[in-house]
Amino acid sequence: MHKLKISSITLLILVLAACGGKKTQPAGDTTANTTKTDSNTTEKTILFFGDSLTAGYGLDDPSQAYPGVVQNKIDSAKLPYKMVNAGVSGETTAGGKARIGWILRQKIDVFVLELGANDGLRGIPATETAKNLQDIVDAVKAKYPNAKLVLLGMQVPPNMGATYANSFKDVFPQLASKNNMTFMPFLLKDVGGVPKLNQKDGIHPTAGGARIVGNNVWRVLREVLVK
């Protein structure tokens, strides 16, 4: 099952390429399940819309990913929010754009956008990424004009080349200011590039790494939630 057979390249490839790695093991989880079911009517929804970083690829339990960490913080702060993890491993901004309609069928109060990493790893032009992200934001605004918007920024590793890395990095602050979103410049701050905090593939945080990411996100998000 775990053998990499060139003659049986099937869907595996899709997943592999999507993660930019060479691992033979299929990617993590698609989770959009609510972590809490005993919701009362006053509880509001905070939706994490993202890729494998949100879904918790490679972690033993998807709730170890940073949205789960944030949920714990919310619970200890006794804020009336329930988190919905809508991360899909390997998703690009184009995929997110196609998926957003399905996700927006549920009511959303806070929309956290974390997409683009897979575009960057595949070398998709930054203009394309920017356009798709804008479309996603537009879709949310159209359906839930009152939802608060948060953008988690992404960067590509330096080996992609400075020109591309810069153009990619610039997409996020521009998008945030244009749409008046709460902005966190780099999701993987303190974690990206630190071997100890990342899985063997070098891009996905370990549970420990995800905890740091979660804390960082929480710092940004708290402002939004208590406002």
Binding site: I6, S7, I9, L11, T30, A86, P157, N159, G161, G193
Partner: protein, 851 residues
Amino acid sequence: MENTPLITKRKLSVRWLFDMARRDSRKNRSRLLLFISAIIFGIAALVAIYSFRYNLQKDVDSQAATLIGADLMVQGSHPPDASIKPLLDSLGGSKSEERSFPSMVYFPVSKGTRLVQVRALKGQYPYYGSLETEPVQAGQSFRSRKAALVDKVLALQFNVHVNDSVKVGEVTFLVAGILDKAPGQTGISSGVAPVVYIPLQYLEQTGLQKKGSRINYSYYYKLDKSVNVLKLVKSIEPKLDKAEMNIETIESRKESTGRSFGDLTRFLSLVGFIALLLGCVGVASAIHIYIREKIASIAIMRCLGVKASEAFLIYLIQIIGIGIIGSVIGAALGTVIQNVLPMVMKDFLPLMISTDISWLAIGQGVLLGIIISVLFALLPLISIRNISPLNTLRINYDEVNLVRDPLRWLVYLLIIGFIITFTYFQLDSWMASVFFTIGIAIAFLILAFTAWLLMRLMRAFIKSTWGYLFRQGFANLYRPNNQTIILITSIGLSTAFICTLFFIQNILMAQVKLSSSGNQSNMILFDIQTSQQKGLAELTKQQHLPVIQQVPIVAVRLIKINGKTEADVKKDTSIKIPVRAFTWEYRVTYRDSLSATEKLLKGNWVGKAGDAKEIPVSIEDNFSRRNNVHVGDHLVFNVQGVQMPAIVSSVRQVNWNKIQTNFQIVFPTGVLEDAPQFHVLLTHVPSAKVSARYQQAVVRQFPNVSIIDLGLVLNVIDGLLDKIGYVIRFMSAFSIITGVVVLIASVRISKYQRIQESVLLRTLGASRKQIFTITALEYLFLGMLSALTGIVIAAGGSWLLARFSFEIPFNIDVLPAIVLFVIISVLTVVIGLLNSRGVLNRPPLEILRGN
């Protein structure tokens, strides 16, 4: 021997024994020659097949070395730390280092940017095969300059030529050559992004190696021939594991490249085993008949005072002599065939076959010839010991109860032990050897039983109302001095071998064809959005490329299996569902029919979801077994936030050997159409040029679509598969031909069995036509029955082999089996008639005197 009465105490004269052995052989040299020729053919077949096998295996192995380009590769995603560096430095004779990573490179000539796989290389890698470039010398010369090699499709796509430039990071490199083929390019990663090679010494300057860079560190080693790679790997693997580094060898790469290498090895083992048995059949049947004919001589010698032990030794010496002569000549003939054949067929062979003389094959052949001669001679010879001279004279040798002689069982045991040992040399596994030997014993018993049954039935059924010729012909099958058992077993076994080879070859070739790309897809486009799929398909067709497959893919997770959740399974270990079933992310599709590579195993296929509460889904066989889920079980899927209850309606078998999208779970239509999904498109591009043009067009219109071009990867693998397929065909054709030759030889030695009777019949006034008919009837019946039994045995044997040794689906072509049946039957009759040609064409008296 203690019950043999000793008349006089006489010292055993070794010299006299040898003299007697030689003198006895003088009597009828032409007859002796016939027997020796059977041994020669048997051993020649064995030696030639073994030699081919060893040579071809070597050729394919050296070809396989280009899969990785070195004996050993160590790879990790971090720079090796101080604890592992000394180990890496201490390994191997020659060493190369490579750092590879994806990066966006810029081609000034066309102002294009593209994601590539940069490979920064230091050292003389590859050690097997070469970086095939245009111009040729660029594969070497780029290493010492600020120069790069650019993948061919990439070059075409961006209109890059030799002496143009490419900007990697901050450094602009001269394009020294266009890369056509490179060893080690068999991983999927090489399909995702085209390759650009640069010399490692410039990597620092590019500025791409910084904190946070994702770089793969690879070390390639060419080891001394004396190094046992397997042992080395075992000894260093734990340390490397700890340092999170992977190790790969040619062997491991062969395994991961596909099953074809394993199939080839198993097939060659099978061929070796069959060659061994062909040798045995050739030698054993000759010796058996030879000794039987000698019984009369032995009886006379016994009456003249030769001791039983002396008679025994005389013939043992003679047999060893015959065995040595036959085996040596056979081995020489086999070697000559193995050397000359590839030369003669040079123009037809797509592959250079090396023609090294294989001393291993020759040694095994000679040894086997002698041992088999002796063992099979022992069977009749030991019975001589217990028979008084008078008894011997009466030649009721057949009726002496031999079963009680313990020595006879010892000989049987020796034969079995010997076959197991030699089989071990071919199969490299004692277990397999024992199983194969048991298989042969069963085949032998079936044939012997068939012969016995035939004799019984003939005796019971022949009626005096039948015509004389019929009665005579059929009665020959059971009357004393019949050859039914010996011919049925030798023809039957040969047929079974030939037929087994044929069946297995066909089955394997079907597999090889499946694995090689041919017109299969070699390009995969994915992340196609629903809104783009029509446009992309149109674009593909516009470029005159086939849309081989286009499927929607939805990511789902399993949250319940028969009401049990992940938490339940974790709590209660007695539930036979692995936790992985829930953590896995499943990529599923939906469609209304089975695909061509799928087969329904259980349940009913439901193509369209009805109004039922539970969606009828189809699961794959392995999934079913791994997760213990079967038809009728209840599942609950989480389709990105929406829970969907489902019921398993069918279990499918999927052929994973084809490059196409295969699925563990398939939904019916009418459920997932609105769910978030993307599409995958598979196509086949005929050339690098077309690939480049197509990719350009796709990227322009659909920038988000990712493309995997497997052209380069498949080139390397197809080349190998072609060779493997060719080797399989060549070896089976050659073995089948030698099998036929051995079969002819073993029928041919029955020549003298019927001569006496035929001559007597002739003397009594039988016409030529009558003798012709009697002989033809006997051989026709023998031929048909043994061919039929042999084919049935082959079918059973091939099924077992396919199921348990090769682990591939079994199917049989009926037509070749029928053709084989007819050929073997006709062949037996023809040889039988040729055997009695002398009797038919010449006057009886001449033959009576001449004999």
